[in-house]
């Protein structure tokens, strides 16, 4: 089973600051997905990146897939309290399965 390492595991910043979350592996993934999860709920898909070097933007969130398709990053600009949550990256390891990172718990303080 391929592994995905997310960093940092916990991040607490003030409203308006910028942040980056990383998702790294030694393995190549055919695609990578980012999810956001609220307490007591299931994760919800934010974006899927497929092509090496691909950059996708979702309002203040910017997602990048590494050129070698082994890593990805999520950058949030001017963080808002509503961005608080658990962010999970997940890689397609084939055989109809995803492998998930351990998550980044993000807290945005007003």
């Amino acid at each position: 089973t391929q592994l995905l390492e997310q960093s940092p595991q916990f991040l607490s910043i003030q409203e308006g600051e910028n942040l980056t979350v990383y998702c790294n592996s030694s393995s190549v993934f055919s695609s990578l997905q980012w999810y956001r999860q609220e307490p007591g709920e299931g994760p919800v898909l934010l974006v899927t990146v497929v092509t090496g070097g691909e950059v996708k933007k979702l309002k203040r969130l910017t997602f990048q897939f590494g050129d070698a398709r082994k890593d990805s990053s999520l950058h949030i600009t001017a963080a808002q309290p509503g961005d608080t949550g658990l962010y999970l990256c997940a890689g397609d390891e084939g055989a109809q399965k995803l492998v998930f990172g351990q998550g980044t718990r993000l807290t945005i303080n007003p």
């Binding site: 055919s30 997905q33 007591g40 109809q96 998930f100 998550g103």
Partner: protein, 112 residues
Amino acid sequence: SQTIHQWPATLVQPVGSPLSLECTVEGTSNPNLYWYRQAAGRGLQLLFYSVGIGQISSEVPQNLSASRPQDRQFILSSKKLLLSDSGFYLCAWGGGGNQPQHFGDGTRLSIL
């Protein structure tokens, strides 16, 4: 539109008791179905997945089993629960590959 139902939302069970968690999907046919367990605030551990009726793949040897008696029904079971079975259990459906997975709201299982 597709929806996924998972119940119950919370469950408190004594050690040694049986377990049955049910998940049903509406609005799609022949989905891939998944059971995950999540430790508090952490990532998801894949327990079982199914690509069709009666087809179950187990990812982690453990005290749990899964069944898919109907196309859009996925059941997680145990004959005798252990303390270590406590956790947040999530059901999901997806198309496989780079298709997204869609999650239920989870079941919080506490073993006493």
